[in-house]
């Protein structure tokens, strides 16, 4: 294996052609995920998190399409693969887990059948071997009595158990990357913790890269190694989880952190970010967050800030120096507008 990142996304732009004109839903998103690393992608609904996941796995719903940028999996470009080759990537090398385990499983097949079907689609194994692997997988994700439960239908499982089945399905062809789109949102709080622990464990044991999409900063704090905060189709801040959760820089990220309910310390009133994210068709000319930002100043209204490095963080906000000047300096140091890679990883 190369020492580079498992997934590398560069300057990804996704657009939707609609009757009212072209909407840019993702605008220059770049990030890397290394082996055994969990990258948390956070933001409000509509920020473009799920869209990023769908673009990576090549399941953008038309009329959405990638207009520029690159997606590389272990160095190989996959953003423009023909459908047939992309199908071999999906499930085999990149797996995806959706939000709602209730609706992610086909109600008319037993869970065993669904896992075997997926294994047989990707691996050259016999039916009997597929069955054996399916049961092993169910055991691995913590299903009691896997031999028996493999013949049960999805509706015979509880929500948490179903999400475990969904994880087993995602893992069955041993993918390099798992995209988990709000994997715990539909679950009870107690079950959430179990699923998070399971994802963490599988990621470490199997050395997979995980892209964890969520709006829940609590989940991020417990699971992710690094965090990227998205707002209106862009990444506004990224950094190691401790730094970002402990001392967020971007006013939006600070707002998100303040909105996490804390059980320790004083039960302060939960902070809220006033207003709502602008719709894609009426993004302001300057910083997209500026209308809701408590600290905005004149310049924010006229220009969009670029990501600049501040300690362990990279942040797109004019509060942290003049974006343009800094980026010019960056360009001198590193030829490509690189994001920080995994900790300790050298930028080629």
């Amino acid at each position: 294996m190369t020492s580079g990142p498992v997934l590398s996304v560069r300057d990804l732009k996704v657009e939707f052609a609609s009757r009212r004109g072209v909407l840019r839903a993702l605008d220059g998103v770049s990030f890397d995920i290394g082996r055994g690393e969990v990258l948390g992608l956070v933001g409000e609904s509509g920020a473009g998190k799920s869209l990023t996941g769908a673009a990576v796995i090549g399941l953008l719903e038309p009329p959405g399409r990638i207009v520029s940028g690159e997606v590389r999996l272990l160095g190989e470009r996959i953003d423009a693969l023909p459908e047939r080759q992309m199908r071999a990537v999906r499930g085999r090398r990149i797996a995806m887990v959706f939000q709602d385990p209730l609706t992610s499983l086909n109600p008319l097949y037993t869970v065993g059948q669904q896992i075997e079907q997926t294994i047989l689609a990707h691996l050259p194994v016999s039916r009997r071997e597929a069955r054996r692997r399916a049961i092993d997988l169910l055991k691995e994700v913590g299903i009691q009595g896997a031999e028996r439960r493999a013949d049960a239908y999805p509706h015979e499982f509880s929500g948490g158990m179903r999400q475990r089945v969904v994880l087993a399905l995602a893992l069955c062809a041993e993918p390099d990357l798992v995209i988990a789109d709000e994997p715990t949102t539909a679950l009870d709080v107690s079950v959430q913790a179990q699923i998070i622990a399971l994802i963490r464990k599988l990621c470490l044991e199997r050395g997979m890269a995980v892209m964890l999409i969520t709006h829940d900063m609590g989940v991020i704090a417990e699971t992710a190694d690094r965090v990227a905060v998205m707002y209106a189709g862009r990444i506004v801040e990224t950094g190691p989880v401790a730094a970002l959760v402990g001392a967020p820089l971007h006013p939006y990220a600070r707002g998100l952190m303040a909105a996490i309910p804390r059980l320790d310390g004083d039960r302060e009133r939960l902070a809220q970010i006033p207003g709502a994210m602008p719709r894609l068709q009426d993004l302001p000319r300057g910083c997209a967050f500026c209308p809701r930002c408590p600290e905005n100043f004149a310049h924010c209204h006229v220009e969009r800030p670029e990501l600049v490095t501040r300690g362990e963080h990279r942040v797109a906000c004019f509060l942290y120096g003049d974006g343009l000047a800094d980026r010019a300096g960056d360009d001198g140091a590193a030829p490509a507008p690189e994001m920080d890679g995994a900790p300790g990883e050298a930028v080629p």
Binding site: R87, T103, N106, T118, A121, V166
Partner: protein, 325 residues
């Protein structure tokens, strides 16, 4: 499961008794049955005797019970119109209707389902739009107009197919079938196509709508994200999930197939039950009307029962729900 079947059976019996009540009311209170049997100048005593023979002097609930018992043996008395037992009249004509409806149903399913799948999967193709346009016309054209049109084109103008009747029939164990003779099969084509056309368009549109709905679901997205083949996704996952609504509608439509068979039979003078019923309505032949009502009700109720059982076979969720708690 057994409790479920029993509950369903019980409901079916209630429905049949209700329909029987309607049939009995028609028979007993619409016009005087005695007047239909005897001639106008029959003396009073003889009328009374007929009345007693028919049991019309007994209390109404007793009459109803007796009527139900006889109906269960399919004894509906004499047709006012033909002066023959209704049972024989219907028995003669039933095979013709059932063959027509059966062939039409098979035709509708065999053509309708693939067309529905195709129009859903190749939504933007020209052929799919063409199918949809044709299906809209098919759903808008009344059956009798289609029948007239086909008959005019293929028998009056082109002279390819007979314009009425059933052709030669063969008796097989008391069942007269037209499926075994060339002229019988030829005569079947136009009526069967007429009858199938509406159902076919309906099935096409239903399968298309359901497929489109299912293709949007999470489990199809998840199946795609797992890299399954398109064929597996479309036929193994999507089509299978459209089966439940398809069974419902097909079941319900079998009822209207019988109703529309009546129209087809009328245009093509197909000697089936519908034609008999139509004559009965025009001539106020209550026993035949009542018998037809009971018979179609039995068929509908039977179909509904089968549909309910089929659900359980297709959808494991219902199997659980059907199990006694």
């Amino acid at each position: 499961m057994i409790a479920f079947v029993i509950r369903r059976l019980f409901q079916s019996v209630i429905v049949m008794i209700a329909v029987g009540l309607i049939a009995f009311t028609m028979f007993r209170f619409v016009g005087d049955p005695v007047n239909q049997i005897v001639s106008i100048d029959t003396p009073r005593e003889q009328r009374e005797r007929v009345r007693q023979d028919l049991g019309l002097d007994r209390p109404v609930p007793v009459q109803f019970a007796a009527y139900l018992v006889r109906a269960a043996q399919f004894d509906f008395g004499m047709s006012y119109q033909f002066r023959q037992p209704v049972r024989g009249l219907i028995g003669e004509r039933m095979p013709a209707t059932l063959e027509l409806a059966g062939v039409a149903a098979v035709l509708a399913l065999l053509v309708g389902i693939p067309m529905g799948v195709f129009t859903a999967l190749r939504r933007d193709s020209l052929l799919a739009s063409l199918f949809m346009a044709v299906s809209l016309v098919g759903i808008s054209l009344p059956t009798f107009l289609i029948a007239i049109l086909l008959r005019y084109l293929f028998s009056v103008q082109l002279g390819w197919l007979p314009s009425y009747g059933r052709g030669d029939v063969v008796m097989l164990a008391g069942w007269s079938t037209g499926l075994l003779t060339a002229s019988g099969l030829k005569a079947l084509i136009l009526p069967a196509v007429t009858l199938a056309l509406f159902q076919m368009t309906l099935i096409t549109r239903l399968v298309r709508a359901e497929m489109l709905e299912v293709l949007r679901t999470d489990y199809i997205r998840f199946a795609r994200a797992r890299g399954l083949r398109n064929r597996t996704i479309h036929f193994g996952h999507a089509l299978k999930n459209t089966l439940v609504p398809l069974i419902t509608v097909t079941g319900l439509q079998l009822g209207s197939l019988i109703a529309f068979a009546l129209i087809t039979e009328y245009v093509f003078q197909w000697p089936g039950m519908g034609l008999l019923f139509l004559g009965a309505v025009q001539n106020v032949d209550i026993p035949v009307m009542a018998a037809y009502l009971m018979l179609t009700a039995t068929i509908f109720v039977g179909i509904n029962l089968v549909v309910d059982l089929l659900y359980a076979a297709v959808d494991p969720r219902l199997r659980i729900a059907a199990r006694p708690a």
